[in-house]
C-alpha cells in the first residue's frame, strides 16, 4: 500500500485474523478502500466472511490486526466509543434487512440517528426516501411494505447518518438474478452518491462484476 493510497483510504484493514472457539481459522487480506469505491469479500460458506464483516464493523474483536476508518483505529477505542463511532460512521445492511416493524419507515431512519446520539433530520429522511423511490412510504409502518421496499428502506437507513463506509452482509443471497443486480446497483449508486465506500461480504459470484474490487478470505485451519 502506498502512502498516497493510505492517505486517501476511508477504510484500511491491517493484519486481520479471526478466531472461533479460541482457534484462529481465517485471515482477511489487507486492503485500503477509498471513498465512493466498492469491494466484495468473497468466500465459501463458513469461510469467515461474516465474522470479518463483524470485525470491520467494530462488533466482534479480531484475533489480531486492526481496522482504521477515517484514520481511527476501531479496535483501540473503548466499547462505548466504538458503538457510537459505528452508529455515526458505519452503515449496515443486513441479509434480511431487519427493519423495526412496530414503527414507520421514517421512524426506522430516525432511530438510526437516535442510536448514534444524533437528532433525526426530517429533511434528510425525505431526501433519502425520495432518492430511493420510496418517498410515499414515509408514514407507512414497516411491517406493511413489500420485500423490495424493505430492501430500499434498509439501504436508506444505512446511509442516513452519512457514514464513511457501508457494510452489507450477503445482500443478494436470496434474490434472483434481476433482483440481485437491481439491489447491487442501488447499493453502489446510493453509497457512491453519498460519498461512502461499500463492502459486500458474499459467496455470490454475481457480485464480482458489480464491484470495483474483490478479495478472498484465507483459511488458516
Amino acid at each position: 500500500m502506498s502512502r498516497d493510497r493510505a492517505a486517501t483510504a476511508v477504510l484500511a484493514s491491517r493484519g486481520l485474523t479471526l478466531a472461533r472457539d479460541g482457534r484462529t481459522f481465517a485471515a482477511l487480506p489487507d486492503f485500503d478502500l477509498p471513498p465512493g469505491r466498492s469491494l466484495a469479500i468473497l468466500g465459501a460458506s463458513g469461510s469467515g466472511k461474516s465474522t470479518a464483516l463483524l470485525a470491520l464493523a467494530g462488533i466482534r474483536a479480531p484475533q489480531s490486526g486492526d481496522v482504521e476508518i477515517e484514520n481511527r483505529a476501531l479496535w483501540r477505542m473503548t466499547a462505548p466509543a466504538r458503538d457510537q463511532f459505528r452508529g455515526r460512521r458505519i452503515g449496515l445492511v443486513f441479509q434480511s434487512f431487519h427493519l423495526i416493524e412496530a414503527v414507520s419507515v421514517a421512524a426506522n431512519l430516525g432511530l438510526a440517528a437516535r442510536c448514534a446520539g444524533l437528532r433525526p433530520d426530517a429533511a434528510r429522511i425525505d431526501h433519502l426516501l425520495d432518492r430511493l423511490g420510496i418517498g410515499t412510504l414515509r408514514r407507512v409502518r414497516a411491517d406493511r411494505i413489500s420485500h423490495g421496499q424493505a430492501q430500499r428502506v434498509a439501504v436508506a437507513r444505512a446511509l442516513f447518518n452519512r457514514p464513511a463506509v457501508v457494510l452489507a452482509d450477503e445482500p443478494t443471497s436470496a434474490l434472483d438474478d434481476a433482483s440481485a443486480q437491481q439491489l447491487l446497483a442501488l447499493l453502489k449508486e446510493s453509497t457512491s452518491g453519498e460519498g461512502a465506500a461499500l463492502i459486500v461480504a458474499t459467496h455470490d459470484r454475481r457480485v464480482i462484476d458489480a464491484v470495483d474490487a474483490t478479495i478472498e478470505m484465507r483459511g488458516l485451519a
Partner: protein, 406 residues
Amino acid sequence: MSFVGLAFAYLRRRWGQALLSVIVGALGLAAVTVAVVGFDALPRAARNAWGGVDLVVGPKGSALDLVLCCALHVSPPHGIVSTREVAAVLANPMVRSSAPIAVGDNVSGWRIVGTTPALLEVYRAKIAAGAIWTDKLQAVAGATAARALDLKLGDSFVGAHGLADSDEQHENFPYKVVGILAPTGSALDRLVLTDIETVHHVHAEQAKHERAERGSTDEHDHADGPSDTATAVVAAYRLPTAAAFMPRQVDATETLTGASPTFEIARLLSYLRPVTIAATGLGLLLVVIAASGAAVGLMATMNARTRDLALLRALGASRAKIATVAVAEAALIGSAALVLGGMLSFALLAVARDFLAEATGLVLQPELDVEQIAWVLAGTIIVILAAAAFPALRAMHTEIEELLQS
C-alpha cells in the same frame, strides 16, 4: 422517533396485554388508596358528625347503640330515660351544657328531634336565619335538612311517625319553620329540631285521637312515656378530664348508661381494622400481580424483540439506551396505571362518600397529604423499576452477532 416513542409503539403493538397490566395495576392502586385514605377519613367524619357531643346518657343497654342513635343519628332508639334523673347525674361542674334528645318522628325521612335550646350550646351551633322556637309546633331546621326539604322561614310541614318516611302522618299537627341553623358539619345539619314538649304533645294528642277513634276511655292507654322522658340526653364537657369520670359516674347508676362517642367509635373502627388491612393487602396483591404481569409480558416481548434490540445495538445504541426502552415501557404502563388508579380512587371515594352520607349522614372528606402522595409515587416508581429490571438486563445483554449472521 425517541426511545420512549419506540417503547410506546411496542406497547401499541401489544395493547391488549398492556391494557390488562394497566387495569390490574390501577385496581390495586385504587384498592390500597381507598382502604388507606377511607379508613383515615372515617374517624374524622365520625368526629365531625357527633360535633360537640362528649357524652350520651340513655337507658341501660348498648353504649354504641346510644352513640349511633343520639350522637350520629343513624340508628333507631332503644328505650327512654327520665330527664330529671339524668339531670341529677349531670349536675356536675365538669359538664358545660346538656340537652335532651327525643326521636321518633320524621319529615320525608329527615329526623325530627325534640330538644331544648341548650342543644345549640352543646354543638356550639348558630342560627343563620330566624330564631329559636318559642312555642309548640315551631321548628328549626339544620342546614342540610333545610336545603334538602327546601324549607324556608314561615314554611309549614307535617311530621310522620317513625324514623323513615311513612304514610302515618301527624296531619293535625303541622309545624312552622321559625329558624334555620348555620352549617356545623355535624349530624345536627341533618336534623329538624323542635321543642321537646312539642314531641310529647304531638304524640299525646295523636294517642288521644287514636283512642277516640277506637272508642277507648282508658287514660293510660298510650304508648308514649310521661313528659319528663327523652330518648337520651347529650352533654358537652367543660373540661376534657371529665371524659375519665363522667361515663363511669353515669354507668354507676342503676338505670343509665353513659356513652362516649370518641370511645365507642374508636372501638367500632377497631373492629373494622381487619377489613381495612384485608382490603389494603388485596390491593397490594393486585399491584404485585400487575407488576409481575407487566414484567413477564416485558420479558416475553424482550425475547421476541431480540432482533430489534440487537439491531439498535448494531446501529450504535449503548447498552444503557437499550435498557431505557424496557424501563420506558414499564414506566408508561405504571404511569397509565397511576393515572387510572387515581381516577378510580377519586370515583370510588366519591361513591363511598355519597353512600355514607345517604346511609349514615357521615360526611367523608378524604384528604391526600403530600406525604401520602410521595409514598404512592415512590411505590409506583419502585414497582416500575422492579418490573423493568429483568427485561432491561435482558435487553442490555443482547448480542449483535447473531443478528448479523441471521
